[in-house]
């Protein structure tokens, strides 16, 4: 049951994140939903089991997120624009049809990953301390 719910929440989180450009959602909410999915996992199973399933360090996830968010800002410098300028392109992808691709998505992905990493790190830090 939990597994099903977990994946529903995960999917919802990704959906929120992707729809954020034109509909309610976005990086911050997406990240929060994703982290709540992980929190659910930790509540149901014990920490070791979850660790085996998700063998990555959430501190690094957060650091990678910050890197993405700051990095996209730097990227625009290379093209002669000011720091953190965002651009979008309309691209014809084979399956999705005409899709809008933007640097803002990368920036938002950075936000989402930072939120996910930080929330899980804090909760794990405290709960590991309990034991």
């Amino acid at each position: 049951m939990t597994k099903i719910v977990f994946f529903i929440i995960l999917t919802f989180g990704v959906e929120l994140f992707l729809s954020g450009h034109n509909n309610p959602g976005g990086g911050f909410i997406g990240g929060l939903v994703l982290s709540s999915a992980f929190v659910l996992l930790y509540l149901v199973y014990d920490i070791e089991t979850v660790h085996r399933g998700t063998p990555f360090d959430f501190k690094r996830v957060a650091a990678f997120g910050v890197l993405l968010a700051v990095g996209t800002g730097m990227l625009s410098l290379l093209f002669g624009d000011s720091f953190l300028s965002q651009t979008t392109w309309l691209v014809d992808l084979p399956v999705f049809g005409e899709t809008e691709l933007g640097t803002m998505t990368i920036f938002e992905a950075g936000v989402a990953l930072t939120v996910l990493g930080v929330v899980v790190t804090i909760i794990l830090g405290i709960s590991e301390d309990v034991e």
């Binding site: 954020g20 911050f28 957060a62 624009d81």
Partner: protein
């Protein structure tokens, strides 16, 4: 000019790559990757020398934060190219040397990451034209220097030295930043070239002197000028390649660069002359006198670097007098001092770099740098001896080495001061040549100490655990040999350097004198019997005598004022700050969360209260407000009930659930007002917070009714009510005011400008992306903070690994 941008960023990119490449190029082989970077950049930059010597300069501007006048502008001219070539040229040699110096067991990847970080930062300092960008890189050099000094962080002395250098140089940097901000308020620009063009406006402003002194403090701390020099000897705890690179050839010259760069801006005033030349001369004397008493070769070289930096600094001070003169012959007389400064800057990098490498070789092969345990190495290590001889004799100012030429120019510049009495300069400056001469005698003495006490005399028994003395492997000797031969080559062809490198730099320092005859003088190896040569001969004679009788007069170093070191004052100051800080902190850090919350609330109330009273605009305008519907009233009633009920909750779980009711009601309110983003966020935040609360249950004490005194309860009640009132008042006032332009314009432009229909997200990700980025950063830092606090608490009682 993309080359200049590349020069700054390639080292940083390479620094990021080092940890990954280190996986494939294990051990010291990673050095072969690292060395390509400074060599490539050196080649890139030296190609530009011919065009620079014809008067070209390369300015390239990228917008960074245009709204704050911060542009990532780079500027390459004759002055920056000297430093850029030193950074990349000496950098290549140092990396080559370090490949054989560091043992395989060290954290080599980390070492090169820091070194490349420094290289990029230092290139950034000398190549950026915007003061804020310059400041950022300036502090970055301090940080990378900190990391490199503390490379062997398990040693207490390394940590002490790293902290000291960091504290002093970063504090100086902050002073400098304030100076830059003053210049900005005067001129409205951060760009150096524009500042130089506006020098008359700056000179007429009342902030002129404060800005000048603040910028100078930055330069003096970085270039280890008296009394800030105390960090440099302690920085010698770094691995020797680092000392050779950062603490003699490049980083400590950043202050010199800054003074030379700002000469056209500030030098019109004689205050600049007095401060720069007096501090420089004092530093030169103090450094050389202290160098003689050192027994550790590296400490000796550190004090000698302090002294040499002081000498260059004093020359720049004299060079500034050219702005006060009117006749062209006078101008050339004083610009010659700056010429000498730049010439000696290059010479110093060559001979001091080679000397540091020699000391590193001795340390590496013999296991000691103490001159009392060294001796008789001339026949055992002939190549090392030759390099040391060349380096020391050049530093002492003897022919046929480049130090002789610049020393002669130094004396000449000091003697030119007797013309300065025409310029309403105090006749006290006539003492300068004498101080310079005495300083040079001590310089001569410590140079002799390096050569004779290390390489002559009797051979000492090897240090336990080390083989008997032997010549170093050839790979370690290549770099000092290159520098040593440069010392001789510059002596033979000084004018090659003068025309192609020093000439353009002079044009950059004296933009208004470009083309003046005598601005770029010819350097003569022999310029007849004049006062300078007599001074040099005097230095040699007195120096030899004093060196010969060193053991008879060395006792004077135990005299009171020579025993006095600023280190003691520094340590005492640091202790005092720590003591006061802990006393102050203990008064309010009670450990009770209730207290902390009341501080936050009190501060908030004070801020809002003062703000409101200051504006005196209590306009409540409800005319545009919508009617409050019945369903909204119900939600608000639920919220009020649950918040009041929290006060009377009997168990903690009840309180948490009631708090949850409050949170979810707010979410419903958001739904009613059609703010789905906010509602979603609120619901998820509420959920996660509840989980956090449940986790924290373990730590919380028994829920009991605390019997506080009446006055305490009244105080807490007042704070609570006041903060509630403050928030309500703000909420009601907001409608009636428009202090800031409304953001509702984004509703119309979001899809056109940012390509998104969700206006909240276009604001977060595009219009106000800078805010969001900083928020993400803050969140991350807070997360790390919580994590490390939790982890540290658990480790309490376990020995700190560093203290072992």
């Amino acid at each position: 000019m993309i080359t200049v941008l590349l020069a700054i960023f390639i080292p940083f990119i390479a620094a990021c790559l080092v940890p990954f490449i280190h996986k494939f190029l294990t051990g010291s082989r990673i050095g072969w990757f690292v060395i390509t970077i400074p060599m490539f950049l050196f080649a890139l930059l030296i190609r530009l020398v011919p065009s620079l010597s014809e008067g070209a300069s390369y300015l390239y501007t990228l917008p960074w934060i245009p709204s704050a006048d911060i542009y990532f502008s780079t500027h390459l001219d004759g002055l920056s190219i000297i430093f850029a070539l030193l950074i990349t040229g000496i950098g290549s040699l140092v990396v080559l040397y370090s490949i054989y110096y560091l043992s395989e067991r060290e954290a080599i990847g980390r070492f090169y990451t820091y070194l490349l970080l420094f290289m990029g930062a230092m290139l950034g300092v000398v190549l950026s034209d915007n003061l804020i960008v310059l400041y950022v890189f300036w502090e970055l050099t301090s940080i990378s220097s900190f990391l490199l000094i503390a490379f062997w962080y398990h040693r207490k002395q390394s940590r002490y030295g790293a902290k000291k250098s960091m504290l002093i140089t970063v504090t100086g940097g902050i002073f400098m930043l304030v100076g830059f901000l003053m210049l900005y308020t005067i001129t409205g620009t951060f760009n150096l070239q524009e500042l130089i063009a506006m020098r008359e406006v700056i000179a007429a402003d009342s902030l002129f002197i404060p800005a000048m002194l603040l910028v100078l403090i930055g330069a003096f701390t970085k270039s280890a000028q008296f009394p800030f020099h105390i960090w440099l000897p302690d920085a010698m705890e770094a691995p020797t390649p680092v000392s050779a690179y950062l603490h003699s050839a490049t980083m400590v010259k950043a202050g010199i660069y800054l003074v030379a760069r700002f000469t056209p801006v500030f030098a019109g005033d004689t205050t600049w002359f007095y401060v720069v030349s007096c501090v420089g001369l004092l530093t030169m004397l103090w450094g050389s006198v202290n160098a003689v008493k050192q027994t550790d070769l590296k400490a000796l070289l550190a004090f000698s670097t302090v002294s040499q930096l002081g000498m260059i600094m004093s020359l720049l001070g004299i060079g500034s007098l050219a702005f006060a003169s009117s006749e062209s012959t006078h101008i050339a007389l004083f610009t010659a001092a700056t010429f000498a400064a730049l010439f000696h800057l290059i010479n110093h990098s060559t001979f001091k770099g080679s000397l540091f490498m020699v000391v590193g070789i001795l340390d590496h092969e013999l296991g000691t740098r103490n001159i009392q345990r060294l001796g008789g190495l001339a026949t055992i290590m002939p190549i090392t001896f030759t390099i040391a001889l060349i380096g020391s004799f050049s530093m002492a100012g003897l022919p046929p080495f480049n130090g002789f030429l610049s020393k002669e120019l130094f004396f000449e510049a000091m003697l030119s001061l007797k013309e300065a009495n025409l310029l309403s300069v105090d006749s006290l400056v006539l003492l300068f040549p004498i101080i310079a001469w005495v300083g040079s005698i001590f310089t001569f003495i410590y140079c002799m100490i390096i050569v004779f006490q290390t390489f002559f005399g009797k051979v000492h028994a090897p240090v336990p655990g080390h083989r008997p003395a032997h010549e170093a492997p050839i790979q370690m000797l290549i770099s000092p040999m290159v520098l040593g031969s440069l010392v001789v080559l510059i002596f033979i062809f000084p004018n090659l350097l003068g025309t192609y490198i020093l000439g353009p730099a002079m044009n950059a320092v004296y933009p208004q004198f470009v083309g003046l005859p005598g601005l770029v003088p010819k350097i003569h190896v022999w310029h007849g019997f004049g006062m300078p040569i007599f001074m040099t001969i005097g230095v040699i004679i007195v120096g030899i005598l004093l060196y010969g009788f060193l053991r008879y007069w060395k006792g004077i170093y135990s005299l009171g004022f020579l025993q006095w070191t600023l280190d003691r004052s520094y340590n005492a100051l640091l202790q005092r700050i720590e003591r006061v800080a802990s006393v102050v902190t203990k008064t309010y850090m009670t450990g009770s969360v209730r207290d902390y919350v009341s501080y936050i609330m009190l501060f908030f109330i004070a801020l809002v209260g003062i703000g409101l009273l200051g504006f005196q605009q209590f306009i409540f305008d409800f005319s545009n407000d919508a009617v409050i519907e019945i369903n909204e009233s119900i939600i608000i009633f639920v919220m009020m009930c649950s918040s009041v009920a929290i006060l009377f909750a009997k168990s903690r779980i009840t309180a948490i659930i009631l708090n949850g009711v409050l949170g979810y009601s707010i979410a419903i309110l958001f739904v009613v007002f059609r703010a789905p983003d906010l509602a979603l966020t609120q619901i998820i935040v509420e959920t996660v917070t509840t989980v956090l609360f449940l986790l924290c249950f373990y730590y919380l004490p028994e829920w009991k009714n605390e019997h506080k005194s009446i006055s305490m309860r009244v105080r807490n009640g007042l704070i609570a009510v006041a903060s509630g009132v403050a928030v309500t008042v703000i909420a009601l006032l907001v409608q009636g005011h428009s202090l800031y332009p409304s953001i509702s314009i984004y509703y119309e432009t979001a899809s056109r400008l940012a390509g998104g229909l969700n206006v909240v997200n276009t604001i977060l990700g595009d219009f106000r992306a800078f805010d969001t980025m900083l928020e993400v950063l803050v969140l991350f830092i807070a997360g790390l903070g919580v994590f490390s606090l939790v982890k540290l608490r658990r480790k309490k009682g376990v020995d700190h690994p560093e203290e072992k």
